[in-house]
Point group: C2
Chain length 335, copies 2
């Protein structure tokens, strides 16, 4: 990158806000968008607003070197849409709050905006507000997402019942494998690795899956897998006053997944149960409803689901075939 | 502070979230609060949701040394409630997103939470969500505020008309004076300084004033003064396709204010027009409505208002008695 590459200090705050606005299309649902003191929007009649916030911080959640800024933008939004999905809510709007160094290349943040615009487009979400401050420290991208849901459809962590099956969507473990693959020789030599790298860089929030699970009342409780499958299962158990047992043989472990993990000397089961950042949905589903739920997802070309265990009256999380994993609290914590 | 003072690394992420939750009282309006994947709330029938976000960053917006953490928490919320006020919205909820260093004293963030709880209590606002990440850089406190308003009451920047009076609430310039006074001998010797220091450290968002201006339709346009009075007046002018003329003799300049500014060798007019961070409301009010608006505020023991100029067809902002100020673009920008 040449030294003449414009940095934020060259282009000014208001131009930076204009840059963000360029990526914001017209959305007839928005009453007041970017450009006033605050944004205004209507919540559909009979629905409640659902909201969450989560941030991506340089050198904690992403490295500026070796990662595409579009992916950073995509991911910052995805982790928030995933939280809305886990309530059964339909996403509608985001606010984007940025803390940026004065010497950051303008092209970098342009690409972050492009990544945000891509995921917004994919999920029919509009950016309605934001804020840009300078910082002497790492880049901080803080997103607030807002959606809506019928109150009676909201799926909480607390609704699981003993006997419900532990069901997870999609591809748990792929993100952790992708992260481990990044920059390794294995990734360069094996084009299968692309799917794992992509699962980490561009996680797909399970928005439609979450809404169907909520609207059809086929699930009793739901959470998204961000800390790690066992850790997030622990959150449901804690709120539902239950325990759970996981069947290692029921975990989705494809040949390619196991091969790539083995090449990296990683334990595939460990990746699935403790990898984190999957942004899959973990649900409590009555045994009789697992097949109907799978069919509903399949009809709409959505993620497959995996029936990997059972909620129990007995507290604690057990993995009978892997007592080492049962004993560990697991999951990523910041402090 | 002793070396045994617990830091965030000692107490852990989940305890830190519990600490925040301790300050959150029961709010019957909240359907789902802290503790699930996202929060849920109802928007009153006939109202639209109004939302904004703004952050406070260590060494940009506040210094950790010499400032009370309670004040940092108060201020982080106040600047957001001020943006809602400037739309005419009633504030209801906040989300608190924090980026914190591992070696931060736990007592410091406890006090920030206490400051947030104080302003929440004062304005009947509840914390319904948040997020805590570690950072290797400065502390970032990012708040999203959510309120509501009847759609027909929303007061935008774009509604000013030529001939409307330029009206500002309360005490513009006090915050900038307070900032300049901080830590000086003048502040130590003069107990009158307290009010100016407080205007900076604990700004009062003009929530009730904004709601009355909006509900009574006595104002045509509104903005809060954060960048500086002239700069924010410029934002209304830009959106309303107008100019404005300010009458220096109509500015609120009390004896104590002028005295303290003079002791610091600061120009009092400059402080009022270009100081920034006032969190007062700046409005476009038809001449015949200025007195009725002042009366409505007085009846409710709210802030006084000052009739300081006029919106004009002629573009640009003029301060006839101070051509030096007219020429300057003014206002704080981050880049």
């Amino acid at each position: 990158m040449s030294r003449s590459e414009p940095v934020l200090g060259d282009i000014g705050e208001f131009e930076l806000i204009d840059l963000l606005s360029e990526h914001v299309g017209h959305d007839p649902r928005v009453i007041v968008g970017i450009g006033d003191d605050a944004a205004a929007f209507e919540v559909p009649a009979g629905h409640v607003a659902v909201t969450t916030c989560d941030s991506q911080i340089e050198d904690v959640h992403f490295k500026k070197i070796g990662v595409e800024p579009q992916d950073v933008g995509w991911r910052a939004v995805a982790v928030n849409l995933s939280d809305l999905a886990a309530m059964g809510a339909e996403p509608s709007y985001i606010l984007v709050s940025l803390a940026l160094p004065v010497d950051l290349e303008a092209s970098w943040i342009r690409c972050v905006y492009a990544g945000i615009a891509q995921i917004n487009h994919e999920f029919a979400v509009s950016t309605i507000g934001g804020n840009i401050s300078r910082t002497a420290g790492p880049i901080v991208i803080d997103i607030t997402a807002i959606g809506n849901c019928k109150q009676s459809d909201l799926l909480l962590r607390s609704g699981a019942r003993a006997g419900d099956r532990v069901v997870v969507t999609g591809r748990p473990g792929w993100s952790a494998l992708g992260l481990s693959l990044s920059g390794t020789h294995v990734a360069e030599q094996d084009f299968q690795s692309d799917r794992f790298l992509r699962a980490h860089r561009r996680p797909t929030p399970r928005c439609k899956e979450g809404q169907i699970a909520a609207r059809t009342s086929l699930a009793h409780a739901m959470i998204d897998v961000s800390d790690g499958l066992l850790a997030d299962l622990g959150h449901i158990c804690e709120r539902s006053l239950l325990g759970a047992e996981i069947d290692v043989n029921a975990l989705p472990l494809s040949g390619e997944f196991v091969d790539a993990a083995t090449k990296l000397e990683l334990d595939p089961v460990d990746l699935v149960l403790d990898g984190g950042e999957d942004y899959e949905l973990l649900m409590a589903v009555p045994p009789s409803q697992v097949q109907p739920l799978a069919s509903r997802f399949a009809e709409s070309n959505l993620a497959p689901i995996h029936n990997i265990g059972v909620f129990t009256q007995e507290p604690g999380i057990r993995v009978p075939d892997r007592p080492d994993l049962s004993a560990r609290p697991g999951g990523f914590t910041h402090f």
